[in-house]
């Protein structure tokens, strides 16, 4: 059996055993799920009851950016950590930044870029009161970036490349500045001023959206994007 072959999916005795164990596990989990009492968690009423004070109308956004903003802050940090991990194991970008141009993709990209930016911004704004928010908006912008890389519109000598690293950290920076700034002013970490909590939440979310979008594109590329001068010598992939 060669190493590169796909898995042999035949049901060997060992797999039968694993399958039986899994059936038992699922049975146990199902029993546990069925035994959950209704309304054991009272967080729902707390979260919904204090919506007025949170500055936003969408309870999920209130949890993410107000009640538990520390979690969301660390979540943005996890994105960055994953990217640092990828950059540590794969120094060179795996998806070549320069790929064959295709007119269909480029035209599609040019038509959809403004639409995707507008819908990303709309999702971000909408997150305050309805379904939406920084992660959804960041995902739309990330998809735009992936299309952009695929269509070779993002050339390494672009001014955009120099903005990549600042854009990656702007989300965490905004979180730290707002959260830490409140501490310096005598409040708690992430205690927003009551009257304009929404402004601060939107500010942090905007910065986070930019970071999330760029990080997703960088995850897709799978390595450090090459410099303009690095790129000249090595157009082929000699990994």
């Amino acid at each position: 059996m060669s190493d590169n072959s796909y898995d042999d999916v035949r049901l060997t005795p060992a797999r039968r055993f694993v399958l039986a164990m899994m059936a038992l596990l699922v049975g146990g989990l199902a029993a546990a799920v069925l035994s959950i009492e209704e309304e054991v968690i009272e967080l729902r009423d707390l979260a919904l009851g204090n919506l007025e004070a949170s500055g936003v109308g969408n309870p999920v956004t209130a949890v993410l950016l107000n009640y538990r903003s520390y979690d969301t802050f660390l979540e943005v940090a996890v994105l960055l950590l994953a990217l640092i991990g990828i950059w540590a194991v794969a120094k060179k970008a795996r998806i070549p930044i320069k790929s064959p141009n295709t007119p269909v993709l480029i035209t599609f990209e040019r038509l959809f870029m403004p639409l995707m930016i507008v819908s990303g911004g709309y999702l971000l704004w909408l997150g305050a009161d309805r379904t939406g928010g920084a992660f959804q908006a960041g995902a739309v912008l990330g998809a735009l970036g992936v299309l952009w890389v695929a269509a070779s519109l993002w050339t390494p000598n672009d001014r955009l490349r120099r903005l990549t690293r600042p854009a990656l950290v702007v989300g965490m920076a905004a979180f730290l500045l707002v959260g830490g700034g409140m501490m310096l002013l005598g409040g708690d970490f992430f205690e927003y001023p009551r009257e304009d909590a929404k402004t601060w939440i939107l500010l942090i979310e905007t910065a986070a959206t930019i970071s999330i979008g760029i990080t997703l594109v960088m995850l897709f590329i799978g390595g450090i994007p090459p410099n303009a001068d690095q790129n000249k010598g090595e157009s082929g992939d000699h990994d």
């Binding site: 059996m1 899994m22 069925l34 968690i41 996890v78 990217l83 990828i86 390595g223």
Partner: protein
């Protein structure tokens, strides 16, 4: 007799997804398959959380599990990206997309 409402149904589907993913993770050596299996396990957990937020379907859903799930999705995407990168590195260094211990 079990009173099977919508929330409970989706919770049970979540446990089955978790089991399918766990089986894939253990039973097959290819790293890409393991990464996909891990994602299916995660989706099962998300489904249970969302179903828990739905509860009996009366009143507004609980926003706290929703926030946990969106955090979980982001972390899952990060972990998948990092895992794929490591898997590609394993393939590049050893010439095989499987770990030594798993080779047949």
């Amino acid at each position: 007799m079990i009173d099977l409402d919508t929330g409970t149904f989706y919770m049970l589907v979540g446990t089955v997804l978790f089991g399918i993913g766990f089986y894939g993770l253990i039973a097959y050596p290819h790293l890409l398959r393991k990464i996909l299996a891990m994602n299916i396990m995660g989706i099962g957990v998300f489904m249970i959380f969302i179903a828990a937020a739905y509860g009996s379907g009366e009143g507004d859903p609980d926003p706290v599990p929703h926030a946990l799930v969106i955090t979980g999705i982001v972390v899952a995407v990060c972990a998948t990206g990092l895992a794929l990168s490591l898997a590609v590195q394993v393939q590049a260094l050893t010439g095989s997309p499987k770990l030594d211990a798993d080779k047949e």
